[in-house]
């Protein structure tokens, strides 16, 4: 691993350098709501210490709504024109938390690593520069230590930043990352900084008990049960009863990737094929034309989501658990069935 150092006050110079080539996105705290958003911003406005963003940056590779193609069919002349619209600007994600990077890696393996490659995703993803930021203290709703996705990123970044006293340690995870650091003339870091980083990460892990008070998820034992299906039906019913079917958990999840496709007609006679986020919590999700719905009861649909997050068969697709421990689902759920709570209910066999 090649490591560099940058003065704390200069760390945004990296974002500025990236801004010459990429559209820079980073965490910015909204002054009115106090929420963090990961969005397109001027590099100097990035707040690296901001809490994890309310919405994960998965929208940068998998937008909430996107046009896949535009077509026009003239029935008179029987002429069809189809234009595919896969396009994306090169983006630099600066200050990504390791949970969100893990979510991105799940999506990479799912969209790019299966039998078919998802072209729209590939176009977004291929021109991307990723700078992660080690969480030296956990936030309230975090449980990445339970899902093997933090507090420091281990793979998949171009540069990783770790705050150490008055400097940031800058680790290069790719040639692209190393070249950028060298181009900026960053000072090389010696091996002692690897030890310092390890100490910082260990300290962060030790702080979970104190800071991450919202969520605890002992997921390994529950993964076994979810995979084998040895969970009482009335436990799912108990969980299903608390589901408002709002879909919020799926939309804020860094690894949820279900989508819907619709064709909409424009006033000028052309049509667009749109892909939008979809949620397995919606009743219409599995309803077929004609009305038959094999997965009508809400508990059957909840069951499906937690199967995706916690089963081994899904792990084979993601090469890691589907849950990345960011805690957002627990944060947004109007019921009380964020993933950590579900894990608890399954573990304790809580039922009606």
């Amino acid at each position: 691993m090649i490591m560099f150092l940058i003065k704390k006050s200069d760390v945004l110079e990296i974002a500025k350098e990236l801004g010459k080539e990429y559209q820079v996105l980073g965490p910015v705290v909204d002054t009115d709501s106090g929420q963090t958003f990961f969005e397109k911003t001027e590099p100097e406005l990035i707040q690296l210490k901001a809490p994890i963003p309310s919405v994960p940056p998965k929208y940068t590779v998998f937008p909430q709504i996107e046009t896949l193609m535009r077509y026009r069919y003239d029935r008179e002349s029987k002429a069809v024109e189809i234009r595919e619209l896969y396009e994306a600007k090169p983006k630099a994600l600066f200050g990504l938390r390791s949970c969100d990077l893990s979510g991105l890696l799940c999506l990479d393996r799912f969209f790019l690593g299966q039998e078919f490659v998802d072209e729209a995703y590939r176009v977004h993803r291929k021109k991307m520069f990723i700078v992660t930021n080690t969480c030296v203290t956990p936030f309230k709703n975090c449980f990445c230590v339970c899902t093997d996705s933090g507090p420091a990123a281990e793979e998949g970044y171009d540069l990783n930043l770790t705050e150490l006293d008055d400097v940031y340690l800058v680790e290069a995870g790719s040639d692209k990352g190393r070249e950028l650091a060298e181009r900026m003339g960053l000072e090389k870091a010696d091996e002692s900084y690897a030890v310092k980083k390890k100490e910082a990460v260990d300290k962060s892990v030790s702080l979970f008990e104190e800071f991450a008070t919202d969520s605890k998820a002992w997921i390994s034992r529950v993964m076994n049960r979810v995979t084998t299906g040895f969970i009482r039906e009335d436990v799912w019913e108990y969980i299903g009863d608390q589901c408002f079917e709002c879909g919020a958990c799926t939309f804020v999840c860094p690894s949820c990737s279900c989508f819907n496709i619709v064709d909409v007609n424009n006033a000028d006679g052309s049509s667009e094929r749109l892909r939008t986020w979809d949620s397995c919590s919606y009743e219409g999700y599995s309803r077929m034309a004609g009305g038959h719905n094999p997965r009508k009861p809400v508990e059957d649909r909840r069951n499906k989501r937690f199967f995706c997050k916690l089963s081994y068969s899904q792990m084979k697709k993601y090469l890691r658990p589907g849950c990345v421990g960011c805690g957002r689902c627990a944060w947004v759920c109007p019921g009380n069935i964020g993933l950590p709570k579900v894990v608890e209910y399954v573990r304790r066999e809580t039922h009606k």
């Binding site: 069919y73 279900c258 496709i261 064709d263 979809d278 999700y285 077929m288 094999p294 068969s313 899904q314």
Partner: protein, 277 residues
């Protein structure tokens, strides 16, 4: 030869001919506008395509043509928004096709065996491809029994094909209706009531079953009672689908996806899926 799968952008086809099969069910004979696809678009029995009706949307539909020596066509029932729009089209109109997707029936594994087809109503549509394929290669199979049940004589699918199969030397074809009309001279009753009459083989036998859920469960129960194992009973499942390539997840059933792991499953697999069919 190069075989194409159309994954992202649909290829344009022209409707050459439309045939009314039964009430609300039409067959659309299609040809690709780009000539190269006429040669490279190869299907396996049991696969499906995604069909775009321009201005309305896209739906998943099974492939009734045999992989060889058959016209490319789709048979579609009018049930929802997109299929209703499709039924309003005329010869000369254009559609979009992606695919073919899915696993298909395992012909290599069933060579030399007796084959039973049990189709209820429009369940004959996805089985037609396989039946015609077996007909074209009858010498590779043992007894071939085709059983088709429908609610009324008018609701029998592919009437011309049924006649052909009834007259084909080497096929045993049974047809029955639930509610006969006065001029109906054939069998009446549910399709499984013909099993005794057909003297169904059990050893070295596979069965393909497709139809509405109620018929599906009864037929499979009867087949298994006779000693045909759940591994030798195949069916093809239907699910709401958006992409066809394992990404949108709408067709998830158990730990599998109907689009890439299916749509053909053995009954043994179906039992482990743990979900309603």
């Amino acid at each position: 030869m190069k075989v194409t799968t159309i994954v992202n952008v649909p290829e344009v086809v022209t409707i050459d001919e439309i045939r009314e099969e039964i009430k609300d069910v039409k067959t659309f004979y299609l040809s690709f506008d780009k000539k190269e696809y006429q040669d490279t678009f190869k299907i396996r029995s049991g696969q499906f395509v995604m069909c775009t009706v321009f201005g309305s949307g896209e739906f998943a539909v099974s492939l009734p043509p045999s992989p060889e020596n058959d016209r490319f066509h789709l048979t579609v029932k009018k049930v929802g928004k997109v299929t209703t729009a499709l039924h309003e089209l005329e010869p000369g109109d254009k559609l979009g096709i992606r695919g073919p997707f899915g696993n298909g029936f395992p012909f290599e594994e069933i060579k030399g065996k007796n084959v039973i087809y049990v189709a209820g109503g429009i369940g004959l549509i996805p089985l037609r491809s396989s039946i015609v394929h077996v007909l074209q290669h009858k010498e590779e199979f043992g007894r071939v029994i085709v059983m088709h049940g429908a609610q009324t004589p008018e609701a029998l699918m592919y009437k011309d094909n049924l006649k052909e199969w009834q007259n084909f030397d080497g096929f045993e074809t049974y047809i029955t209706v639930d509610n006969p009309t006065p001029d109906w001279t054939g069998e009446t009753g549910f399709v499984h009531t013909l099993f005794d009459k057909a003297n169904l083989p059990v050893e070295n036998t596979v069965a393909f079953v497709c139809g509405p859920p109620i018929m599906f469960n009864t037929v499979i129960g009867e087949l298994m009672k006779r000693g045909i194992s759940d591994e030798s009973i195949y069916s093809t499942l239907e699910r709401h689908m958006k992409c066809g390539v394992g990404k949108c997840q709408h067709c998830a059933i158990g730990r599998t996806l109907v689009c890439t792991d299916g749509p053909v499953y053995t009954f043994r697999q179906i039992k482990t899926l743990g979900e309603e069919i």
